[in-house]
């Protein structure tokens, strides 16, 4: 000790103090929640980290849509880690690629839950991938945060649905357009798979029974079909007040381009779609969409401070050209809801976490406050956005809070 000079001593003391401070802020917090107590089921939770899975398609057809979700989830996780993590533990991400192939989703879910022992998973996009992975989550008692708006008719204790179920997206939108545009006749058109078909079934019932309108045509297009000439001519003959559309993927772009080329633009035809978010606009082109309406719970252009902060952070992280659609925002909610649930439960155990989340209101959500209901869906508002040439929507209507109703009576 005699060789230790003054400066060296101060340095050493400061270092010691810093280490001690580190122990106090970081470790002591985690020490309030000893691993043995907060993790009784053998999840991958240590004194300093917790493993969380991300399971989306980074390759294959669905990569188009799922990339935004992956980015949002990673951003949320990075922000949570910057704030000190969950119960003092940093989130470690294990990302798996579902490759747009449904059995792969099940296989990767199994790997995440059984081999990696992740505490929760942010993932799935299409209903098909969720349905494939669901039995795995139920068997292994995992926890899934699912971001996409979807057809409803499902509820599992192992899944939290951060997007809207069909009635939340459809009913208020139809009410608005019927009132605003005095619409009586509707033409329903969608891609040919479960989500558009279920949605149109609900829409038709609502139009016929509650709005006392008429459905003058109902049409389903094979996925990937790009020829709309005949359908557009049928629409021209029927002259509906409103086209109600749920066309997805590559077909979506062709649909809008050809509609415009056939002279049916927004000055002649009212259209409300439930399948166009900011992500899709990139491909469709603002000029083909200008004036048409989308019914979503979130639009990038929303003017509240939480959203401005979110949009800024997202662009800073993923580039200034990045756009944020409805599902991307819903995916961003996943990690935050998980954090809140664990903190409310004071535990990472899946049973405690899933019991703790219902009733929680996430006040800082970019879309505005959302509340988790007992049926694991969120109470949200519905917004109608009118698209502009710049690819952004102007919110022209915001509904009251709508409670989720995944098994709507009278609509099945």
């Amino acid at each position: 000790m005699s060789t230790l000079n003054r400066r060296g001593f101060i340095k050493g003391a400061m270092l010691g103090a810093m280490m001690a401070a580190g122990l106090v802020t970081g470790h002591a917090f985690a020490a309030d929640y000893p691993t043995a107590k907060v993790n009784t089921t053998g999840l991958a939770v240590t004194d300093t980290t917790v493993k969380v899975g991300i399971l989306h398609s980074a390759t294959g057809t669905m990569a188009i849509s799922e990339t935004g979700s992956i980015q949002a989830e990673k951003l949320a996780i990075e922000q949570i880690n910057a704030m000190g993590g969950i119960l003092g533990r940093k989130i470690e991400v294990i990302q798996e690629d579902g490759a747009s192939d449904w059995p792969t989703f099940a296989e990767k879910a199994k790997k995440l839950l059984e081999k990696d022992k992740v505490a929760s998973v942010m993932g799935c996009w299409t209903s098909a991938s969720r349905k494939a992975a669901l039995p795995v989550f139920e068997k292994d008692n995992g926890l899934l945060f699912y971001p996409t708006f979807y057809e409803g008719l499902e509820q599992s204790k192992n899944v939290f649905y951060t997007g809207q179920e069909a009635t939340q997206q459809i009913l208020a939108g139809l009410d608005w357009i019927a009132k605003e545009k005095k619409a009586k006749t509707f033409y329903l058109i969608g891609s040919d798979y479960i989500w558009p078909r279920t949605s149109m079934k609900i829409a038709r019932k609502h139009i016929e029974q509650h709005l006392h309108g008429t459905v003058v045509g109902e049409e389903y297009i094979a996925l990937g079909d790009t020829q709309f000439g005949s359908v557009i001519n049928k629409i021209k003959l029927k002259k509906p007040d409103v086209i109600y559309a749920a066309v997805v993927g590559g077909s979506n772009v062709a649909w809008f381009k050809q509609l415009n080329a056939a002279g049916l633009n927004s000055s002649k035809q009212t259209m409300l779609t439930i399948s166009v978010t900011e992500d899709e606009v990139l491909g469709i082109g603002g000029e083909n969409l200008a004036g048409f309406y989308s019914a979503m719970k979130y639009f990038q252009s929303q003017d509240n401070p939480e959203n401005k902060k979110f949009v800024e952070a997202f662009k800073k992280r993923w580039g200034k050209d990045a756009v944020i659609g409805d599902v991307t925002q819903a995916a961003y909610l996943g990690p935050w809801l998980y954090k809140a649930a664990v903190e409310r439960a004071g535990s990472f155990d899946v049973d405690k976490v899933q019991a703790a989340l219902p009733g929680y209101t996430f006040k800082d959500a970019p879309e505005g406050p959302v509340t988790v209901e007992a049926n694991h869906h969120l109470t949200t508002k519905l917004r109608i956005g009118q698209w502009g040439k710049d690819g952004q929507a102007k919110v022209v209507y915001t509904s009251d809070y709508i409670k989720p109703d995944p098994f709507p009576k009278g609509y099945q």
């Binding site: 980074a58 390759t59 294959g60 057809t61 990569a63 188009i64 990339t67 040919d192 109902e218 049409e219 389903y220 297009i221 094979a222 990937g224 079909d225 790009t226 020829q227 000439g229 005949s230 359908v231 557009i232 001519n233 049928k234 021209k236 003959l237 590559g250 772009v253 062709a254 381009k257 050809q258 415009n260 080329a261 056939a262 002279g263 049916l264 992500d279 899709e280 990139l282 491909g283 469709i284 082109g285 000029e287």
Partner: protein, 305 residues
Amino acid sequence: MFGYSMADIGNIVVMQGFSGLSMFTVLLLMALGLAIIFGQMGVINMAHGEFMTIGAYTTVLISKVAASYGFTDYYFVFAIAIAFLLAFAVGYFVEFIMIRHLYKRPLDTLLATWGLSLVMQQIFRSSFGAKEVSAELPEWMLGSFKPTPDIDIPINGVFVMVLAALVTFGVYMFMYKSRWGLRVRATVQNRTMAGAVGINTAKVDRVTFALGCGIAGIAGAAFTTIASTGPTTGTLYIVDSFMVVVFGGAASIVGTIASAFGIAQAQSVLQFFMTSSMGKVSTLLVIVTILMMKPEGLFASKLRK
């Protein structure tokens, strides 16, 4: 009649006729390149759709450049030329490193080109991103041409139609009126004999394959006017392309034209009177039935077996 006025019905008949023709030209453009590769060379090129995607991405990129330099109004001419050249070059290269080793093994070509299509899709995804993009179309190509106030003829449809006519004419001239075409046909009819009279059959193969790919590139460029472009865009077109070529009779360009016309009209009319999916199903049923009776397609080549 059914509560519609005669004028309404007249207008719809005109527009419906046009939409049938428009679908015909789209199918024709898709299938022409394949007709050359599959029909003339017997190579089942599963990556045909990806060559279209090359053309489509080329167009999107050039439209971006055009937008920043202010020649959006006429960039399409360059886009089509460059799309052709690029797809031609890639096709030439692919034939050289892969296809030529597999000529005697048609089923292996199928697998190899399918693999190639996956590789190309991932290359598109890695270099252009997974999201779909659109070419910025020139002002004059948007909207519709109105001979009367109630009839709308889409201008992009007319554009694809004119382009398809030009390409078909070009292919015809090449195949039947040029020395190159003569060599191609000679090689198809009798490879050994063609080689014996001094035709470099390996080179003929390479150029034929590259030409088919180049035409796919043009088709891809044209389709940016009606649909968007993504890494997997090609897969949307490949099935229809094969359907047209097989139904038309593999070795015949006239067959390809007739088959594209027949399929397009049937589908267009059926989709108008039935729902869209049922229209498609019915068309496929008719095709299957006809192929059962005439397995070699509408226009079989009269080759001595």
